[in-house]
Amino acid sequence: MTREEIVDAIKDIIRTIAPDEELSGLKSDVRLREQIALDSMDFLDIVMELRKRYGVQVPEEDYKELATLDGCVAYLHPRLKDRPAKVGV
């Protein structure tokens, strides 16, 4: 997956969890939870969807790495760069 595909994958997961949130103007360097209403249950769902869709395990001590879209890409790209992008579930 490319960096762009990873951003799309994260946004797609957020859309599944929080369909009411507007994602088009998301800034990549600002914490997701400051831009859209995501609580801790929603955040855990993002982590579980990542495992379900892409088989990537995010241990609890790494959750902080996923705070921003940039952080997600930096953390996930080394782990996903050899995987093909999947669309939806």
Binding site: T16, I17, A18, P19, D20, A37, D39, M41, D42, L44, D45, V47, M48, R51, K52, P59, E60
Partner: protein, 463 residues
Amino acid sequence: MSAPRYDAIVLGAGMSGLSAAIRLAQFDRRVLLVERHSLPGGLNSWYKRAGRRFDTGLHALTNYVPRGTSGTPLAKILRQLRIPYEALQLAPQRRSEVVFPAERLSFSNDIGLLESEVARAFPASREGFARLIECVRSANPFDAQAPFASARARLLEFTLDPELVEMLLLPLLWYGSALAEDLAWDDFVILFRSLYLEGFARPEGGVKTLLDLLVARAKESGAQLRMNCPVRRIVVEGGAARGIELESGETLACDQVYSSAGWVETRALAGAPAPQEDRGWVTIFETLCVTRTPHRARGHDAAITFFSQVERPRWREPAELVGFESGVLCCSDNYQTREEPAEGLLRATLLANHDRWSELPEQEYAAHKRAAAASLEELSARFVPDPRPQTLFRDGFTPRTIRRYTAHAGGAVYGSPLRHRDGLSGIANLFLVGNDQGLVGVIGTLLSGITMANLHGLYAQHT
């Protein structure tokens, strides 16, 4: 035991069983959901009679918030179950009311109405009520380690008029207390938010709308549903649940069992009975009455009327078949639906005594049911338009009916007074969901199934 093997078997396709099954299946657990009856819902189900569909449990969905509100229980449930807000087709109430011998208070989905009602009827309590609202807003009622605190004791801090305290408590007790005469302060906070800060709505189409959504989500997520499938026992070996045995004799193996049967009932199914006194006591007598004219056309716009005939209504099991001190009158046609209702539907509810109903000889049961229904209709007419001259159809049920359809000991609608917040049953791999785990009501039990599936099935095994 025979194949196939499941990650989890969920007992009961009511609100909590369905929500637990959806959560687990959503993350690829192999889930089997078994239900004794042919319809899902348990206590919150529906039936058809005389060409109409009636809900059995749902008076109102609490925790109403408009679309786009996040962070509240309703919003959390919809996100966790991946149900779009619009799919619920919520019709909000106009208002509801609490009626006592000397005073009445209206409330709606805007707390401003209740604040102005309190200021009008209890001017000396105005400031204390404002402090109470602030306290409820900022409290954290979800601290599992917090010791029990009595809501009645905590309420003394706000120097409210004693009659106002009773009036505020009555709807909360009716919609959520399995304790006698009181409720836990944490439950008070949760219920105060649910009823007064958020409010009431009803899905258009009633509880069936919600159940259809839940069943569809369970199936889409890959959960397997088996209806008409009563469970004989939970198989326990070496102190851990290993599967279930059906009434048919078939055994099914699994890693985890989630039971919505209740604390007492689950322990009995697992061959390790709980003490009798753990049984819940809140059970009801309810009548339904279809009237020719909708209630609003007869000048009554309240969705729910909580009434008390005495200054301090008791909240405990009545000594007689039914208790007439307080009750709930629900005009199901008084929600703001897109289509105007064609007729009225009054649901009237009183506390009842399960054992008294059960002891009645068969030949006297029907006559007592008719007599109680007649008394209740006469009583209803003091608070809402008299249903009697307008009746097109009437029906009713007793604690016996509830026991038959929910398999809850004593026909208990709110489960055991003993809560098991952690969902632990005392037997490994066997978890409680529903009333006896957490909160009551449709929203409370949906959250119970979600949080227990998350805690014991998803988060625990994730890291």
